[in-house]
């Protein structure tokens, strides 16, 4: 296990390194630069050149890359060309919105999709089970933007229960307000992602129903539903973990749109803004962290699989 972990870790680092090169290169393809943006529409080429020099944009690409990645190894993600603030600080700041948003969305998605998915599988062939599954299929097909708008109209505008947009200035110092601010966005992502998850849980459960070892559980004196839950769900759980790991990437994408829609000062919105502003050091720092995050999730999912499933521990 330790050996596997180490090997897997080495692979993770290698992945990050390759990702860093990819990120760095792909960003340099973008037309336009931050110097021009700072100089604006009433500027001369000389002014732009001066700014470019000040920001170090005149250096050759390999030098810029080495500079950046060297910093990363020393724990320095670089700093913004526009505001000079450290990327790490900015990320930490925005993470206060995006991370809770992600956790809340995931929680909502899991909390409603797993029981409903299992239930709809157990009640397959009956009206309520079918209704649940059709409902999930339909919800999973709704565009996130639309779902968000509808929720806002109902809960913020008509009922006035929750704020329509924004994040309290006091942040988490006012936990209740912060929580309320994230509730609608989290609900939006949670419902749409949860519906996809539910679809998945349902079919994984259906597979478990047909499994012989679940029947064995029943033969030992469990009721058939109890046997399904005791012996079938761990398998479902394993596959749900895998899907969840991959869904994290989906939630990040969802967050970009949702943060835009609800004007939340989170990582997604910052990323869009920074790409538009061509604040490349910031963008590449942010992308590296996001990519690293998803890679680490994949790593953790693999480890969890190994821990839970003895077959994986030995299989090559």
């Amino acid at each position: 296990m330790i050996r596997y972990t180490l090997t897997r870790l080495a692979l993770l680092l290698l992945g990050l390194l390759v990702a860093s090169v990819l990120i760095f290169l792909s960003l340099r393809v973008l037309p336009g630069d931050v110097a021009q943006l700072i100089a604006g529409v009433n500027s001369s080429p000389g002014q732009v050149e001066a700014i470019r020099e000040r920001l170090g944009l005149d250096q050759p690409l390999p030098a810029q890359y080495v500079d950046w990645i060297g910093g990363v190894f020393r724990g320095d993600l670089g700093s913004s060309l526009l505001t000079g603030t450290a990327v790490a600080d900015e990320l930490a700041q925005k993470a206060q919105v995006t991370v809770p948003l992600g956790i809340m969305s995931l929680t909502i998605a899991v909390v409603f999709s797993v029981p409903l998915g299992v239930l709809s599988a157990m009640r397959r062939g009956r009206a309520d089970g079918t209704a649940l599954s059709v409902g999930a299929q339909t919800l999973a097909a709704v565009p996130v933007v639309w779902a968000g708008m509808m929720l806002v109209v109902v809960f913020a505008v008509w009922l006035g229960w929750l704020p329509a947009q924004g994040f309290p200035r006091a942040g988490w110092q006012d936990p209740w307000a912060a929580f309320r601010a994230l509730l609608l966005p989290a609900l939006t992502i949670g419902i749409v992602e949860g519906a996809m998850l539910m679809r998945f849980v349902r079919s994984a459960t259906l597979q478990a129903v047909g499994q012989d070892h679940v029947r064995t559980g029943a033969a030992k004196g469990l009721t058939r539903n109890a046997a399904l839950i005791r012996h079938g769900l761990p398998d479902v759980g394993l596959s749900v973990i895998t899907v969840l790991g991959l869904q994290v990437a989906g939630i990040i994408v969802g967050a970009v749109i949702i943060e835009q829609l609800f004007t939340l000062p989170g990582i997604g919105r910052m990323l869009v803004a920074d790409v538009s502003a061509r604040d490349l050091p910031k963008v590449q720092g942010e992308l590296l962290v996001l990519t690293g995050f998803v890679l680490i999730i994949g790593f953790v999912v693999d480890l969890v699989h190994r821990l839970i499933d003895p077959r994986e521990r030995e299989a090559a």
């Binding site: 973008l30 037309p31 336009g32 630069d33 931050v34 021009q36 943006l37 700072i38 100089a39 604006g40 529409v41 009433n42 500027s43 001369s44 080429p45 000389g46 002014q47 001066a50 700014i51 000040r54 526009l82 505001t83 000079g84 603030t85 900015e90 700041q93 925005k94 708008m149 806002v152 913020a156 505008v157 006035g160 704020p163 329509a164 947009q165 924004g166 994040f167 200035r169 835009q260 829609l261 609800f262 004007t263 939340l264 000062p265 989170g266 919105r269 910052m270 803004a273 790409v275 538009s276 502003a277 061509r278 604040d279």
Partner: protein, 480 residues
């Protein structure tokens, strides 16, 4: 003042401890007003945080600010300002005449600083006691105006503040905090030299989406909504908490034509045809605000003249012109930054299609627009809302992305700058503007309005040209 919200003060008295939340659209990338371009900076920082010797009212009148008074020599070559005493910067340091001299001199000498060219004409900046004297090489009718803008802002000499994220000025408000991607907060400057601001705090909430802004207003999360969509008037006024105010502005929806040799638009007939194919009234109607504009100068600026006769809406004439120019089945691409309302390109596509021009729309982010259009002049048509007041100079600059090069216009503009008499200067500008319009150097789709929804308990909210300036010194909020 007259440009402020017309809604009379509510019954209750203003609350000096009030906090006012104002919705703005475009957030600045950083706060360095010395170097970083963008109206988003002028909008909030000038007048409120930073001040110059002189200032302008919403009606574009020039009034005293840090200088209590000024005089101009009859030859128009010497300007003398009397600096106020007892002015303090936000960090407690006193404003000295030397700070003013340093600020203006550095501005002039540092090309990286914005608008440094506007002081090119100034040969000497000196201080004697509280008197600051600017000496010019030749008369410049735009100098005072320029000093009300970035060129005239006064900073503390040798200041160590990080201008990217912090500020140190003399204005009625201090920068309290900036939560990037969300809001900027100003707090009242209790040490202000003039009348104290009437609210304790102003919060600028950056909400790009109109619907989100409306929702925020309806949910009581903001007190003022700027940059609003006038089409949603009924919605925001529905429960009586807001009133919609339409103020004039110098926002010019400019459809630039790339008329470099080789482009189909190098032919004036084609440009004229496009102008006549466009039904300008529809823009005003679609935006439910603003007015038509047929020349480069908006009605708020000197030199304005109604040029509707130059390019009347006439698709038949447009078709005839195109035929004449041998430019049937023209295919053109419009480059437009992606934050503008989609209605504008929709109308353009429809209008141009009617006269046989196929318009492709390339919606790009602003950086790409800057790169492609502004720097490389690689475009057919381009749309940008130019908000700056008194920016005729661009039509006299053949290197500008407008690619318009007319010696006569350039000469007229130079003459107008040199004119010592304001009216004369305006007349010269008007003459130049007519030529620009007659040359169909570009098309002006509309002259935008400042659409501001103001809470009924708010007074003193400016409503003119708010995209460019937002002087909040008289803003007040009552607990009504």
């Amino acid at each position: 003042s007259a440009g402020s919200s017309p809604t009379p003060s509510a019954t209750a008295a203003p609350d000096p401890n009030a906090s006012v939340a104002i919705r703005l659209v475009l957030e600045p990338e950083n706060l360095d007003i010395r170097q970083t371009a963008g109206a988003a900076l002028d909008q909030i920082l000038v007048d409120n945080i930073y001040e110059g010797l002189v200032a302008r009212t919403p009606e574009q009148e020039i009034v005293p600010s840090l200088a209590s008074d000024w005089s101009v020599s009859p030859d128009g070559l010497t300007y003398t300002f009397t600096l106020r005493e007892g002015v303090l910067f936000h960090d407690g340091q006193a404003l000295t005449p030397q700070d003013v001299v340093w600020s203006l001199t550095t501005r002039k000498a540092t090309p990286e600083w914005r608008d440094s060219a506007r002081l090119a004409n100034v040969t000497a900046i000196t201080a004697e006691g509280q008197d600051i004297t600017l000496t010019l090489a030749e008369p410049d009718s735009s100098l005072l105006w320029n000093l009300t803008g970035r060129a005239g802002l006064v900073f503390k000499e040798g200041d160590t503040v990080d201008y990217n994220t912090a500020a140190n000025g003399t204005g009625p408000f201090r920068l309290d905090s900036w939560r990037q991607g969300a809001s900027i907060t100003f707090a009242r400057n209790d040490e202000y030299w003039g009348d104290q601001a009437q609210v304790a705090e102003v919060v600028f909430d950056y909400i790009p989406d109109n619907q989100a802004a409306l929702n925020a207003a309806l949910a009581g999360e903001v007190d003022v909504v700027t940059g609003y969509d006038a089409n949603l008037k009924d919605q925001i006024e529905a429960n009586g908490d807001f009133a919609l105010v339409l103020g004039r502005s110098t926002d010019k929806g400019t459809l630039a034509f790339n008329q470099q040799p080789g482009s189909p638009l190098a032919d004036k007939r084609v440009r004229q045809a496009i102008r006549q194919a466009i039904n300008h009234d529809t823009f005003v109607e679609a935006l439910a605000s603003g007015e038509t504009q047929y020349g480069p100068i908006p009605s708020l600026d000197p030199g304005y003249e109604d040029l509707a006769d130059v390019a009347p809406f006439d698709p038949d004439a447009a078709r005839a012109l195109l035929e004449d120019a041998g430019a049937e089945d023209l295919e053109l691409t419009l480059k437009i930054p992606n934050f503008y309302s989609t209605t504008i390109p929709q109308i353009l596509v429809s209008n141009l299609n009617d006269v046989g021009i196929t318009l492709e729309v390339d919606s790009v982010d602003f950086s790409t627009w800057l790169n492609d259009v502004y720097i490389n002049k690689d475009y057919d048509l381009s749309f940008v809302l130019h908000t700056e007041a008194r920016d005729f100079e661009n039509w006299a600059n053949p290197d500008y992305y407008f690619t318009y090069d007319n010696a006569e216009v350039q000469e007229l503009f130079a003459e107008s700058l040199a004119a010592t008499d304001e009216d004369e200067a305006a007349e010269l500008l008007a003459e130049a503007a007519r030529i620009v319009s007659e040359d169909a150097a570009a098309d002006w789709l509309y002259n935008g309005a400042s659409v501001v929804a103001v809470g009924t308990n708010i007074t003193g909210m400016p409503s003119i040209n708010v995209n460019e300036r937002l002087d909040l010194s008289e803003l007040a909020k009552s607990n009504g």
